[in-house]
Symmetry: D2
Subunit: 147 residues, 4 copies
Amino acid sequence: VTTTGSADDGYRFKRRVPFHETDLAGIVHFSWFFRYMEEAEHALWRAAGLSIDRAGAETGWPRVSASFDFKNALFFEDEFEVVVRVATVTRRTIQYAFVVMRGDTTIGTGAMTAACARKQPGLPLQAVDVLPDIVAKLRAAAGQSPS
Amino acid sequence: VTTTGSADDGYRFKRRVPFHETDLAGIVHFSWFFRYMEEAEHALWRAAGLSIDRAGAETGWPRVSASFDFKNALFFEDEFEVVVRVATVTRRTIQYAFVVMRGDTTIGTGAMTAACARKQPGLPLQAVDVLPDIVAKLRAAAGQSPS
Amino acid sequence: VTTTGSADDGYRFKRRVPFHETDLAGIVHFSWFFRYMEEAEHALWRAAGLSIDRAGAETGWPRVSASFDFKNALFFEDEFEVVVRVATVTRRTIQYAFVVMRGDTTIGTGAMTAACARKQPGLPLQAVDVLPDIVAKLRAAAGQSPS
Amino acid sequence: VTTTGSADDGYRFKRRVPFHETDLAGIVHFSWFFRYMEEAEHALWRAAGLSIDRAGAETGWPRVSASFDFKNALFFEDEFEVVVRVATVTRRTIQYAFVVMRGDTTIGTGAMTAACARKQPGLPLQAVDVLPDIVAKLRAAAGQSPS
């Protein structure tokens, strides 16, 4: 089930670049974009009235894959937005799509897939089905159509 | 020259704990508090209409020392404040004092001293005098009395 | 120009998981795998008698894309290896392929593409051709055939 | 109980600076020294045949305070050593002292105090007494006299 969104949808997570995220090339180190994506994902969950992956929670969302294409650099104190949408949902995974923007400049685009897993003390994570209600709430918070 | 502030002064920098700042003990890893202090320092500079330590800037502020005392833990998605004040100013250094608060709970207190240095391509940093105007603006932004 | 390597080739970069790389789920935070890949890439460069991306260097290697597929978790104090090989080389980019292993367990696989760029003070990075000699040295250090 | 060590004692933890630990000033970001100290502390524990702070362990070592004085900068790919010793031990805390060296150059000195705490699921950490045997093993691994 793939959702093709309009150019405008997506939850917009705002962020500023602190000093410690830069590297000796004078730009944000590329590894940070993966953290930006996760921060935006969690902000989307909060916007949907949900929380994710707390210690002690019964359900976790381990990452299955993550990728990012870098178009332009981000610099110290730049203000930027991470636009996040629900992309592909399978029985046991949610894939999110991301665009990082500084004003009208596209900094890069990425994707991240998380699996739904049951956490039980002393046991390995066990894959479980994604609750449809969670997907519906996330889509709504991202301004996407219900399915 | 030491400034003793009232309990209320200080610039308040707000922040939330993202997932990647936690460690396997389930709390924010202690090293992050040093980044929180710097983020608050730079927010104070912006509030004072200044910017700090950009690439290509003629003046930098390398850290001379930093310390933090940990009182309580911070957790995933906690919202907290870093209250920053100008503490001790010497000819060539500014020391900042910090209190990290989550609501009424003190998470910890810290201090950080930065030296004023001239940066010239290909040369080592050279200590230079702190401009009084900068200190005055920082104190004002922190709600502190002028000297 | 794609190189298909044997199962055995690749430079092996050894690493251990420190405490601060774990998150509240008790495992290494997924963002670290992108840093592991870069650390292995740079270790390959050193093994090839080269160095990469120093401040002041005339040539830099900004990342164009990075991706990782997560198979198993890494834990605190785990010892693991990042096996890195030169994958696809185009006129102006080098793509590396990575496998992260803990003993016989595959932790995950990834890829990273870096562009060759000329750095000049005050100017944007400019794409330039990859020197064939660099590619030859990297392949040799990774135990790969010359082309 | 304070231990004054000779200039030579201390466990020596070796490390190299990866790219992602540098900042736009071209040097290792100061926050990393706090992670270096913890990495050296844990290496000392391993050298003593102990492990620290694993998930599920009954005892944890939350940080009480940490400080560092910065003397010289570290740069990309620098090899350096963190020399760690047991400094002051109280009934419920261990303080470690650190010196970071690059060859004969002192990069900085620091201290970190950890409290011994019992971890029980669902309960706050509870301070407990430091086992004398642990201190003896750590001192031995650091080449320090028994008390």
